[in-house]
């Protein structure tokens, strides 16, 4: 498998791992898959060969200069309890007596699995974790803020924290002995293993070896190499004679690389940044316009109402004037007719005395 470095970095970026080494992208939908650094290293752990001697723990402790354990490494009573990695132990071995298959006791070594696309690296907001081309996932304590999101994210529950260190607490985890393997040495645990339960080498070779063992001894192994695809694949690989669940390994993790779990949410960010101002600004503008139109309509309505009222008032006034006029005319007519009547009466009366004189005087009085 030969790939150019550029292409390779592009894949990393697509997988959401980009900030560790390459372009800073996180794509939700992409047909690119990262299947690990070519020629990178790993370790194959064959649980059928493990005898629970804790030599690997001791070797790890020594080469990493970790503090003395509470109980010496030759004391196997610690196997009575279920242990996990801690700030003082990068690796531990657990014993499983009551496996469902009735086989046992069986042993299983725990340490960082050095994922091909590590959850810890993808969630670290200062990129303290890096998946190196050697296969090792390294940690740079000089930038670590101590948010411990890596511990939340790690599906294998590996990173531990120095809670008792007040001034320079660090995340502690196996480095695949990065300083040693860079110099061509074996990781401490592999070197210490007396039973060849641990095999260090190129991951692709280890997969081949694992498949070969399963093929040769189909009764001795379940037909699965744990770590080949779990969480997108890990640099540590496991063989077991019982289902992995029975030696405390989760089989429900799925094959999705961790960065893919968050890439959808991350990809929404630029869309929100780009579109929200448009949406919100639009709503604001629509409201502003609505208010403006409302105001205009109100003004128009008021003006119309005023005009209508004025017109109505004028009409009323006119009507009233006309009415008055009519009234006046009526009164005049009435008065005239009354006067005429009286005149006629007077004329009748005068007809007996002096009729013409009296009637003339009366009518001239009315006119003035």
């Amino acid at each position: 498998m030969s790939i150019s470095r550029r292409k390779f970095l592009g894949w990393l970026g697509a997988a959401g791992l980009g900030t560790t080494v390459g372009p800073k992208t996180a794509r939700a939908a992409s047909n690119k898959n990262f299947s690990g650094y070519p020629q990178s290293n790993g370790v194959l752990f064959d649980s059928t060969r493990c005898i629970g001697c804790r030599k690997c723990e001791e070797g790890c402790n020594k080469v990493n200069e970790l503090p003395e354990p509470d109980k010496s490494f030759s004391d196997l009573s610690v196997l009575e309890t279920r242990r996990r990695t801690t700030a003082k132990a990068y690796t531990v071995v657990n014993r499983y007596d009551d496996t469902g298959s009735g086989k046992g006791p069986l042993y299983r070594k725990i340490q960082c699995n050095h994922c091909l696309e590590p959850a810890c690296a993808s969630v670290c907001f200062v990129t303290a974790f890096k998946k190196t081309a050697t296969g090792a996932v390294t940690y740079d304590e000089s930038v670590c803020v101590g948010c411990r999101y890596c511990m939340i994210a790690c599906p294998f529950e590996i990173p531990a924290y120095e809670y008792d260190n007040a001034f320079s607490p660090k995340v502690m985890k196996c480095t695949l002995c990065f300083p040693r393997i860079s110099k061509g040495q074996l990781p401490g645990c592999v070197e210490a293993c007396p039973t060849e339960a641990l095999t260090y080498g190129k991951r692709e070779d280890l997969l081949r070896i694992g498949r070969e063992r399963i093929r040769t001894f189909p009764d001795r192994y379940v037909d699965h190499i744990y770590g080949e695809n779990e969480m997108g694949g890990t640099s540590w690989l496991y063989l077991s004679e019982v289902p992995f669940k029975e030696i405390g390994m989760r089989e429900d993790l799925g094959e999705t690389p961790a960065p893919k779990l968050t890439s959808g949410a991350l990809s929404a960010v630029p869309m929100i940044v780009g579109l929200w101002p448009v949406l919100l600004g639009g709503i604001y503008a629509i409201n502003k316009r609505k208010e403006k139109i409302e105001k205009q309509e109100k003004e128009q309505a008021v003006a119309a109402a005023v005009a209508a009222a004025e017109a109505e008032a004028k009409a009323k006034m006119k009507e009233a004037m006309e009415f008055q006029e009519k009234q006046k005319e009526k009164a005049i007519e009435k008065a005239v007719s009354k006067a005429l009547e009286e005149a006629a009466k007077a004329a009748e009366e005068a007809a007996s005395d002096t009729p013409s004189e009296d009637a003339d005087t009366k009518s001239s009085e009315e006119d003035s």
Binding site: K24, C124, F125, T127, G146, I152, Y161, A265, Y284
Partner: protein, 390 residues
């Protein structure tokens, strides 16, 4: 929390002040321990449980309950609901203090707090949702500070600067909504990375949307809840428009909260459906999930609706408090209770009393600063020099 507020100060020895004083003393004591002896000496955090209540409560709950700021300012300045104007300043103040408290709490929680700027100045882990949260919280705290500052500037009499800031209102509001959308949802999306640790009823590919929508509910309810408390203790600080608009705000925000709760209920059910997790409802975690969904989502949805319909302000106020409690439960469920559900009980986390002491201490400080500000600055009344605005 009343005497020295309602009457001119004679004695500081009120019951509230005495209790607050004791909490502050204990808080300072634990603070010294935390920063001299390390996290291990004051917390029950472990390698299995790296996040405790300082994240589950202080960060997740704190940020959700501080959502009132962006909800109210967008309602008034963007959606044009001007009749709720008097709710803006108290909500912005609560939001600002809430976020400030969150940032202070983070200083307790992270291993090396003096390195908190590292994600911005050293190496940017842009593939981390925590980077997004950190960036948005930092920016939004700044936005809230700017949105709050006109009140302080009116108090200080710095007219020109205040007028410049007032002109930025719309811009700040839009920026605030963008940032809030991003980090409120990202707080939920933080957990997308851990499908193997968070119980499937709470883990959902939609968790980011759930967090955002429930933050809106929290914001609306907090405004009602906080205005109820403020009216009880700071009524003398409220001007006429505040007192007049108060009931309108409860009715309007209650109506909105009822609607959003209904939507939230629907998308939560869609969430169960999407993962086909119906069978899990019968388990003990399922029952607890139903308590949250029915008791703290469906129930307040109806209670708000009835309260608004019947103009029952008392019911609305109680519902607001109940809804706020529901949000607290939801965030604790995601962050602590349903997280690491697969572990045996011996490996599960329960907070150390000193962790609780720090959380209580920080909330108390928040209340004290809130009181200090509202008794001095024009938060619940309009400044006489600026009668038309605010």
């Amino acid at each position: 929390m009343s005497d020295e507020v309602t009457t001119p100060v004679k004695s500081y020895l009120t019951p509230f002040n005495m209790v607050a004083g004791i909490i502050v003393i204990i808080g300072l004591f634990v603070t010294v321990l935390r920063f001299t002896q390390g996290l291990g000496s004051v917390t029950n955090l472990s390698d299995y449980n790296p996040w405790g209540i300082w994240i589950g409560f202080d960060l997740l709950v704190g940020v959700a309950l501080a959502a009132g700021g962006f909800v109210t300012s967008s309602a008034v300045y963007i959606f044009g609901l001007k009749k709720y104007h008097s709710a803006v300043r108290p909500a912005i103040l609560t939001g600002f203090l809430g976020y400030a408290m969150v940032v202070v709490a983070l200083n307790y929680d992270v291993g090396r707090p003096w390195r908190l700027p590292y994600p911005f100045i050293m190496q940017q882990g842009t593939t981390s949702l925590l980077f997004e949260v950190a960036a948005c919280v930092a920016l939004y705290l700044t936005v809230l500070f700017l949105e709050f500052s006109p009140a302080a500037l009116e108090w200080l009499g710095l007219k020109r600067l205040r007028n410049i800031l007032i002109k930025l209102t719309l811009l700040l509001t839009i920026f605030g909504v963008v940032l809030s959308t991003l980090h409120q949802s990202s707080l939920g999306a933080l957990f997308l990375i851990a499908p193997s640790k968070l119980h499937p009823l709470w883990y959902s590919p939609y968790i980011a949307v759930f967090f955002f929508v429930s933050a809106v509910i929290a914001g609306l309810s907090m405004v009602i809840f906080e205005s109820t408390l403020s009216h009880r203790y700071f009524a003398d600080k409220m001007d006429e428009s505040h007192l007049k608009e108060k009931d309108d705000i409860a009715l309007g925000f209650g109506k909105a909260a009822s609607l959003v709760l209904a939507g939230y209920f629907i998308i939560k059910v869609i969430g169960i459906s999407e993962g086909n997790h119906w069978h899990l409802l019968g388990t003990s975690y399922g029952i607890w999930f139903l308590v949250e969904l029915v008791g703290f989502v469906a129930l307040p949805c109806f209670a708000y609706a009835i309260g608004v319909r019947e103009k029952n302000l008392k019911l609305i106020k109680w519902t607001a408090a109940w809804t706020v409690l529901g949000i607290v439960i939801n965030r604790l469920n995601v962050g602590l209770i349903a997280f690491n559900w697969h572990l045996p009980s011996s490996e599960r986390y329960f907070p150390h009393w000193m962790e609780i002491a720090i959380s209580v201490f920080l909330v108390t400080l928040l209340l004290l600063i809130f009181r200090f500000i509202v008794t001095r600055m024009p938060i619940m009344y309009s400044h006489p020099d600026y009668p038309d605005e605010h």
